[in-house]
């Protein structure tokens, strides 16, 4: 728990934990804690705990029910919606958000008897929040363990790599097998695409495979749109207006050849922003399509025949032995497996021979 430095008036302000993408419960945003929001929060709690609210919350709930009875349907509907949406989140994220929400309401609607800092000085009861934070911390710690375990087979320093680490054996086959143009990828590489959507998108071969899949599903325009947005975000500033215009013509205009399905609210906002195009004008639309692909197309791709076939065809390279005479810099080629023979012959015929006539303008010594 971080405790901020004291401000001028000597009041100590607590800093709340946060998920950077959902600032709803941050103190700094000064989200006005309205009656309606509090009612929704209590309604959610009521539903979850099936009527077992703590005493003062029960009183507040009943009082609110009387006061804003006219919108009570809305309150209950919102509460149910939010509960349903929260079930979709990952457990760690859900716990974090719940803690934030609870802490937020503890501050804005403190239980009766909570001492006011300014009136009563530093003695305060604030242990509840901290206990929640500690529990949240543990779920995040477990997520690191999970991440490390998942990626360990891919970490050459932890677990070595096949066919061999080029730094140790001087055999560059590993790099050749992982190039973008290789015909058959390695098993580890294809497995990695299943770790997260970003892993799939970061690998150019993964993107190509995914595009093939999407074409079968007639939703290839989603990935193309996403890539076009990335190009706008990271490209030259001077080209932004023309790129954005292209994107509009191809993907967003009514009747466009590759129209993408965005909800009306986001579309309205984006079209408004297009009047004054800037680097991030397509962000909302891009995010919408990204999540669409992530929640829908991506899981189905992983279950598809296309992916499973590729995984079955993917190779596990044979280990090449470490070169016996380490001071020889000549590349050692283990006899390639038949599956690789044709592919290597094609794109590396020239490359390997040229190594021996490299001009050596630097010194490199090895142990």
């Amino acid at each position: 728990m971080t405790i901020n430095t004291l401000s001028q008036d000597g009041v100590q302000r607590q800093q709340m934990p946060c998920l950077t993408k959902t600032p709803y419960y941050w103190m700094s945003t000064r989200w006005p804690a309205s009656e309606l929001d509090y009612a929704i929060y209590l309604a959610k709690k009521n539903i979850r705990k099936q009527g077992e609210l703590i005493e003062y919350e029960k009183e507040c709930y009943n009082a609110l029910h009387k006061r804003i009875n006219h919108t009570w349907d809305f309150v209950v509907m919102q509460a149910r919606e939010q509960l349903r949406a929260s079930k979709q989140r990952r457990k760690a994220d859900r716990i974090v958000l719940e803690c934030q929400e609870q802490a937020y309401w503890l501050v804005n609607r403190p239980p009766p008897g909570t001492l006011e800092n300014i009136d009563y000085g530093p003695e305060r009861r604030t242990m509840n929040t901290r206990v929640q934070l500690i529990r949240m911390l543990n779920s995040t710690k477990k997520s690191y363990v999970k991440y490390c375990e998942q990626y360990q087979p891919h970490d050459p320093i932890m677990q070595g790599c096949l066919p061999s680490n080029p730094w140790i054996t001087d055999d560059i086959m590993f790099w050749n097998m992982h190039s973008e143009t290789v015909a058959v990828p390695t098993k580890l590489r294809v497995e990695r695409w299943s770790f997260s959507f970003m892993e799939l998108l970061n690998d150019s071969m993964g993107r190509k495979e995914f595009l093939t899949y999407l074409e079968k599903e007639f939703s290839a325009e989603n990935l193309c749109f996403w890539q076009a947005c990335e190009d706008v975000r990271h490209g030259e500033t001077s080209k932004i207006p023309e790129k954005v215009d292209e994107v509009y013509k191809q993907f967003l205009a009514p009747g466009a050849s590759r129209w993408v399905n965005i909800d009306s609210k986001t579309m309205e906002k984006t079209l408004e922003g297009l009047k004054r195009p800037h680097r991030f004008v397509l962000d909302d639309a891009q995010m919408h399509i990204y999540f669409l692909m992530k929640k829908d197309s991506y899981p189905r791709y992983l279950k598809s025949e296309l992916y499973k076939n590729l995984l079955a065809r993917a190779i596990v390279p044979q280990e090449t032995k470490k070169s016996v005479f380490p001071f020889m810099r000549r590349q050692r080629h283990s006899s390639p497996s038949p599956a690789l023979a044709t592919q290597i012959g094609e794109d590396d015929g020239k490359g390997k021979n040229s190594n021996s006539v490299k001009s050596n303008s630097g010194t490199a010594s090895r142990l």
Partner: protein, 349 residues
């Protein structure tokens, strides 16, 4: 006692209360959460290459990314990296063969940082000249593309987001995002009260973290220029910082001889990597590809290897004859490179 004194006392008391609360709740700390995980094997890395060519202290190095791997591999070039030394040169190495592919003479020899663009087309350098100079490697003769001149303090770190944007951190306590076409600052990140010493971009490039001499690490949103989170805990200058590969945490290294891991969602320190026997500051750090191992370079000429989950030291890279000033792990995680004031770069795995 004045109210200020009282508040300070409360701060201390609260810290002890937190520790007690943690134990009372009986929940696991990171080490026990990780107790089920097999311990990292005793890591013994050997020097596979020693790159000689610089004539003075090496201050920074940066690996190129995999993007141009296939085009380069067909001409037998693998694993490019750039290194900067106070002999006034940037050297681009084909580290696998040990050849120097390019040498870029610098206008000012007081260089403190260097960076390789993800595309492989550009490199940048900066230092006591308060400027960040960007060079194009793809023209027949290496040309200076831009001189980014707006900082009022030394340039401590630079990182490219693309061929059109670069982030810098400076001794004038600010970080800045530059537009490389116009050469102007697009966003200035103001919040630190001490010299900014290092920065690290998140994998999704929407945020970055910076470490400064005010012993704080801050998380920034690149789009709106705001400081979103601040991490306390260090008691001296933070010299090195890096995102954990899962992007949920950051690791920092400081002159107080410790490294710390901060969780972004919990907004606090999760584990501290320290050892009573170590009493020299951390100068640089890099993570293995799974995040399990932290390679931290220290002033005592060694690079210590920490198990990030268990908080234990699992190895050491010794071989340099002077302070280790920079470390880096390439994208495929194949090895770790250390650069030192002894003017050599060593590749280990």
């Amino acid at each position: 006692m004045g109210e200020m004194e009282q508040m300070k006392k409360e701060a201390e008391a609260l810290k002890t209360q937190i520790e007690a609360a943690r134990k009372a709740v009986g929940d696991t700390d990171m080490a026990s959460a990780a107790s089920g995980v097999a311990p990292a094997p005793r890591v013994q890395l050997k020097t596979r290459r020693t790159l000689k060519g610089h004539l003075a202290k090496i201050y920074a190095m940066h690996w190129s990314t995999d993007n141009n791997l296939s085009s380069l591999s067909s001409i037998g070039v693998f694993r490019l990296m750039v290194s900067a030394s106070q002999d006034g040169k940037l050297l681009i190495w084909d580290s696998h063969s040990g050849n120097k592919v390019n040498a870029v003479p610098l206008k000012s020899s007081w260089v403190m940082t260097c960076a390789y663009a993800p595309s492989g087309n550009l490199v940048a350098s900066g230092g006591l000249d308060n400027m960040c100079t960007v060079y194009n490697l793809k023209t027949p003769v290496i040309k200076t593309v831009k001189e980014l001149d707006a900082h009022t303090g030394y340039l401590s770190c630079a990182r490219f987001l693309s061929d059109t944007e670069i982030l810098t951190s400076s001794g004038d306590t600010t970080c800045a995002l530059w537009d490389l076409e116009t050469g102007k600052q697009k966003t200035v990140f103001l919040n630190h009260v001490g010299d900014c010493m290092c920065l690290s971009l998140s994998p999704d490039m929407n945020t970055f973290v910076s470490g400064a001499c005010d012993s704080l690490a801050k998380l920034w949103d690149i789009r709106d220029g705001q400081c979103k989170q601040t991490f306390q805990g260090h008691t001296s200058d933070i010299n090195a910082i890096s995102f954990y590969p899962s992007a949920n945490a950051i690791i920092t290294g400081s002159d107080d001889c410790t490294c710390k891991m901060y969780d972004l969602r919990a907004d606090q320190e999760v584990i501290s990597y320290q050892d009573a026997a170590l009493n020299s500051g951390v100068t640089s750090l890099a993570l293995s590809m799974s995040g399990r191992l932290i390679f931290a370079g220290y002033d005592d000429f060694n690079c210590n290897i920490w198990d990030s989950l268990k908080g234990e030291k699992v190895g050491v890279l010794s071989g340099h004859d002077n302070r280790v000033s920079c470390t880096g792990v390439p994208e495929d995680g194949m090895c770790v490179c250390t650069g030192s004031w002894d003017s050599f770069l060593k590749i280990w795995n």
